[in-house]
């Protein structure tokens, strides 16, 4: 397993007009690592994940990705076409991700995430099912790195368990995960390191053990 980071933010920051959404952040994600992003609403967690995913371009600094590394991204708000069914969404994104057999990949993820295969517009799915579809799309293309923004917010306990099983399996295979979460139990179980953000600034970066519980409560408040 190489020590070269799979993904790194090198002074990456983002402004929207005059508003600073995220000040310059230095961050490295190593193979096998689980990194939790914590902080109150509006702290800049989603902006940082979007920058790492390449969905947003940094206003300053840059994001580096090790050559050949594939990244899966599940934004906080489900990103899928509401008029397409779950299967059609998966097949479309499988093709865009370059899956060799898009239909097979879609069928596998439908089953794996327990999604309805009926030709029903995904906009009509329950909130939980839409989030499952959102997560399933992130697993297309055999990613080595997963970027998950509040992934379990709308999932029932069984689906949460199954999701973390997949994430842990990916880490054990040399992949890595960055996830934003408000659940300290998840952070303790699935993250080795914690990055805390507040008002667009990085205020803490360290191991879970270093992460002070009272401080975490304050940050997440």
């Amino acid at each position: 397993m190489s020590d070269q980071p799979l993904l790194a933010a090198r002074g990456a920051g983002r402004r929207f007009g005059e508003t600073v959404a995220l000040e310059a952040v230095e961050l490295e994600l190593l193979p096998g690592e689980g990194l939790a992003l914590v902080g109150p609403n509006g702290a800049g967690k989603s902006t940082l994940i979007s920058l790492l995913a390449g969905a947003l371009q940094p206003s300053e600094g840059r994001v580096e990705r090790r050559k050949g590394v594939r990244v899966g991204w599940a934004p906080q708000r489900p990103a899928q076409y509401g008029r397409l069914s779950a299967r059609e969404n998966l097949e479309l994104f499988a093709k865009l991700e370059g899956e060799a057999d898009p239909e097979e990949a879609a069928a596998r993820l439908l089953e794996s995430f327990d999604l309805p295969g009926a030709p029903k517009p995904s906009a009509n799915l329950s909130v939980g099912n839409r989030q499952r579809l959102n997560l399933a799309i992130a697993f297309l293309g055999a990613p080595e790195v997963l970027l998950l923004d509040e992934p379990t917010a709308a999932l029932d306990p069984e689906q949460r368990r199954r999701l973390w099983e997949r994430v842990d399996a990916l880490r054990e295979a040399g992949g890595a995960v960055v996830f934003a979460s408000q659940h300290l139990g998840e952070i303790e179980r699935h993250a080795g390191r914690v990055v805390a953000l507040r008002d667009g600034r990085l205020v803490f970066a360290g191991t879970v053990d270093e992460y002070d519980r009272p401080e975490a409560d304050t940050l997440s408040a």
Partner: protein
């Protein structure tokens, strides 16, 4: 290209899943086309013109021995305008408020001057201001022209009576006074009875020549009154409703609405669905995304344009309309539809990028498309600024391309010119849309 094609297919599938939206998008431009047709028809209808009678026109008037029924004559000559009798004050008020577009006043003494047949009486005409005043002026002139034609016959008949009197002699009246004229024929007979001196023979020659010349006076007078006459040889050609211009405009109008609104709405909806970030992180670049919307607009424009052209052609074929439908020109139309649909799609994508949200984009597209269409429908010769503005928009070039492609005998020059315009506009709007698409990620 494969990724662009995947997005185009996805958009087509989404559109197919929205039959109500698609139906509205189809029906709306057709409804607008009908309304434009009605407005055009209204603009060609008879303008309301006030007739102020300050001479107390009698029911009948005799001019040159010919009796005219005034109301009947007015009805005969006012085919292009709707004449309404009003008092002078009422006419002025209605002219100010736009209820009438012109006031024609018959001044005091008009009929007596007319009956005198020596001087030309004058009608006073006041026109409203505005763009249609020149057309109203033409129609009032046409009214006076028709009136003059009716009177000319009476004038010519009267003048010919004097000529006959000069030729044959006899009793008559002039300016109300009785006259007795010897006439050329009787003068010639008197001269023939006289001794045939040289001076008498000179007078006889003159009278002979004068009789010959005056014998042709009738034709000469009629020719003077009408140096050029119009001979109607029967109606030929299409009705205006099936004209080349209407066909080209109907196709352009329909695809303008559809291409603009669909491209704007579908690009902005990528952000509404929160998918834009997923695509832009390497799956589909913003440039490819804009290109996909342009391709979608061009494909829909092609399908609908061909469908309209075929429907139009079938109506013409079934109705046996003059000229028939130029089916062999459809391939040229196809090229124009793709170019115009692409240029309109690029403009729509730009609007979608600027509006950012699908609802706003559709509303903006609707607000933009109406002025584009109306600017293109205003003749540039009538309102030059409208012509300049429409030059930098695809609609006018689409109309010109379609009309030339379908009906010009030698269309190549015009087609090349309009194709270059559409390509250039599509390129400019496409680049701007690509630049603007970055806003969708914010």
């Amino acid at each position: 290209m494969t990724r662009t094609w995947l997005i185009v297919r996805k958009d087509a599938l989404v559109l197919r899943r929205s039959p109500f939206l698609f139906g509205i998008l189809l029906a709306y431009p057709v409804a607008i086309a009908l309304l434009v047709g009605l407005v055009a028809g209204y603009s060609n209808s008879k303008p309301r013109v006030a007739l102020v009678d300050e001479d107390n026109l009698p029911a009948t008037v005799v001019i040159g021995g010919k009796r005219f029924h005034v109301d009947h004559t007015i009805k005969e000559v006012s085919r292009n305008v709707k004449l309404v009798r009003l008092s002078a004050d009422d006419a002025q008020r209605q002219l100010r408020t736009g209820q009438v577009v012109a006031v024609v006043t018959v001044p005091p003494g008009f009929i007596s001057t007319l009956e005198g047949m020596v001087r030309s009486p004058k009608l006073e005409v006041q026109l409203s201001h505005g763009t249609i005043s020149s057309r109203v002026d033409q129609q009032v002139q046409a009214l006076v022209y028709s009136l003059n034609r009716q009177l000319q016959r009476a004038y010519i008949d009267t003048n010919l009576k004097y000529v006959t009197l000069i030729l044959s002699g006899g009793k008559g009246t002039f300016l109300g006074e009785p006259i007795d004229v010897i006439g050329l024929e009787r003068s010639q007979k008197v001269l023939q009875a006289m001794p045939q001196t040289r001076r008498v023979r000179v007078l006889e020659d003159f009278i002979h020549d004068a009789r010959l010349a005056l014998a042709n006076t009738g034709d000469a007078l009629r020719a003077t009154a009408h140096p050029i006459q119009i001979a109607h040889t029967g109606n030929r050609g299409r009705t205006s409703a099936l004209s080349a211009q209407v066909q080209a405009t109907a196709i352009a109008l329909t695809i303008t609405f559809l291409a603009l609104m669909l491209a704007a709405g579908s690009l902005a909806s990528e952000r509404d669905e929160n998918v834009i970030g997923r695509l832009a992180r390497g799956l589909v670049s913003l440039g490819h995304l804009v290109w996909a919307k342009i391709v979608l607009a061009a494909a829909l424009a092609l399908m609908l344009g061909v469908a309209i052209a075929v429907a139009f052609g079938l109506i013409i074929e079934i109705g046996g309309v003059e000229g028939g439908e130029p089916w062999q020109r459809l391939p040229l139309l196809v090229i124009g539809l793709v170019l115009a649909g692409g240029a309109l799609g690029a403009l729509g994508a730009l609007l979608g990028a600027l509006a950012k949200e699908a609802r706003s984009a559709s509303l903006v597209a609707l607000l933009v498309v109406l002025p584009i269409v109306f600017l293109g429908l205003i003749p540039a010769e009538v309102v030059p600024p409208a012509g300049w503005a429409s030059t930098v928009l695809p609609f006018t070039h689409a109309v010109s391309f379609f009309r030339s492609a379908l009906f010009d005998l030698s269309p190549w020059g015009e087609l090349a010119r309009q194709a270059l315009w559409l390509l250039a506009l599509g390129g400019i709007f496409g680049v701007l849309a690509r630049l603007g698409a970055r806003r969708l990620l914010a």
